[in-house]
Symmetry: C2
Subunit: 122 residues, 2 copies
DNA sequence: CTAACATATGAACATGTATTCATATGTTGT
DNA sequence: ACAACATATGAATACATGTTCATATGTTAG
């Protein structure tokens, strides 16, 4: 990790291009923003979660049905659903012993379908 | 990992909802598609790479400038750039000892800006 | 109340990944 | 040819993450 002085008017580096660095820094997002953006994509960055989210795109499903559809164990699915629930990407409601999950974020629906389109057209 | 029988017309399970599972399975994406989609999002799922891609959104930069802008070591940046290069998310050209990197995928530009929008509006 | 069931969760394990350090590769100027 | 430089890369380390197993929680039917 390098720490470089880089004020508005005085930029003293060796190899780098001081002005460009200064401008680019101002246009760059903050650490915390980058972290938050990465957090969302990280959740979309696992095949199991992609499959879960994709099937929830079509309809609300209960846990055991999700597990059956994507052919994974109930526990694995439940753990992943917890992550998605915490990030508010899925909504869930209890109905007796069943827990019904559905997509809870139109942004994510859109990101997901863009991701799927992306790999289909290339 | 559970493996369940699930043909077109005969669905025999215990707790699950057979018809829904059959329909949902047909609408679900394949393992390899889910894998590929996850691969893309996984690349977007790291704060360092988010920052790199975001600064490359604005302009082409050389490695040492990227490192200076995002305040990371040259080696770390270079390693990440290799991943992005292999996935063809960034283009690069050599100019003497310098290597200039730029965004090479409009889909990714769009995904990235959607991701950034998403965390900004909530 | 009890048994059967659906879901959630903690612990353990294996695997993947990001950064750092040291060094290699390849270029430029002298 | 040599020194300075920009970038790339292999190895090592530390850390994060996904799945499984066992079990806990909470609900329904009898």
């Amino acid at each position: 990790m390098q720490t470089k002085e880089c004020t508005e008017d005085i930029c003293e580096q060796l190899c780098e291009h001081p002005q460009i660095i200064c401008i680019a820094k101002k246009e760059s997002i903050s650490d915390s923003e980058a972290q938050q953006v990465a957090e969302i994509f990280k959740l979309l960055g696992d095949p199991t979660r992609v499959k879960i989210l994709q099937v929830l795109t079509k309809r609300e499903l209960c846990v055991c049905d999700i597990a059956a559809v994507i052919e994974m164990g109930q526990s694995a699915v439940s753990h992943q659903l917890r992550l998605l629930r915490n990030a508010r990407l899925v909504r869930y409601r209890r109905e007796g012993k069943m827990a019904w999950y559905s997509l809870d974020d139109e942004h994510v629906r859109s990101l997901l379908s863009q991701g799927i389109d992306h790999i289909k057209h290339r």
